[in-house]
Amino acid sequence: MVTLRNLLAAALVLGIYSLVMAALWVVLDAVDVAFTEAAVGAGVTTVFMLLAIAATGRHEKIAHRRPWLPILASLAVGGLLIYGTLDLPGFGDPEAPAQQHVAPHYLEQGEAETGVPNIVTAVLASYRGFDTLGEVTVIFTAGIGVLLMLGIVRRRRAGAGDDDDDTGERE
């Protein structure tokens, strides 16, 4: 995927990546994340990618230049990450600190306090509802931002009367 010069192919490989990730999320019990990955990966990302590639050109013209700096940077980050994971609790350890402090409260009290058996939804919408408000704001920012940057053409085919669309006209 990194070496594919054909952008269309690269975008498709991103789709495969998303599919495999979705399966992985299910295996790791993160069904809500899997659901999101499924909806986003299958529904919108590929379409957006293809539309953008249609607008910008299909082939990557230039080979990767100066490959040493990026390799160095990713090695540095990767090395630091590996160093950092050395003393993280092992995979699936129920005694890990992450499983001890606040998470039990969600799992034990969550349904009683919110009336929602899906704890992910309970935490998402209630305990950390403000994060989710932020999340909606991010999406909203993206939508308004895309409008502000590209606008939406009002094709003039339908007649001059339609020219007053003020969602951002483009010449």
């Binding site: 790791l28 993160a30 993280l88 092992g90 129920p94």
Partner: protein, 116 residues
């Protein structure tokens, strides 16, 4: 088992490294965005791995199960996925706008035009 307990993290790290390389190395802007998506997914994997509990099941309360995985990382990653999609959309829109302005989305060609 001890040796295997961190394999998941390392897989995520390898993905993160590939992703980071794919952000920095290509000259094509769309390609950079693809790399960015990979890099972010790899980080999500780290989080979800942290939340997995051995023998646990998905955190949807159900009478038949007693051990659940940690829901908090899932919530955080849901938010982060949304952020990633938004970033991707804005990035693609920017790339399209750049194509309009410069006629190309290759960073090297853009630099050349700017230098002129």
């Amino acid at each position: 088992m001890e040796a295997l307990s961190h394999v998941n993290y390392w897989a995520a790290i390898v993905l993160a490294m590939i992703g980071l390389y794919a952000v920095i190395a290509p000259s094509n802007l769309i390609k950079k965005l693809i790399g960015l998506g990979m890099f972010q997914s790899a980080i999500f994997l780290v989080y979800i791995t942290v939340g997995k509990v051995e023998g646990g099941t998905a955190p949807i309360i159900d009478s038949g199960h007693a051990v659940y995985s940690n829901p908090l990382p899932h919530v955080l990653i849901l938010t982060a996925i949304v952020v990633a999609v938004s970033t991707l959309a804005v990035g693609l829109a920017l790339a399209v706008a750049i194509k309009r302005d410069y006629g190309t989305v290759e960073e090297d060609e853009i630099d050349e035009q700017d230098r002129r």
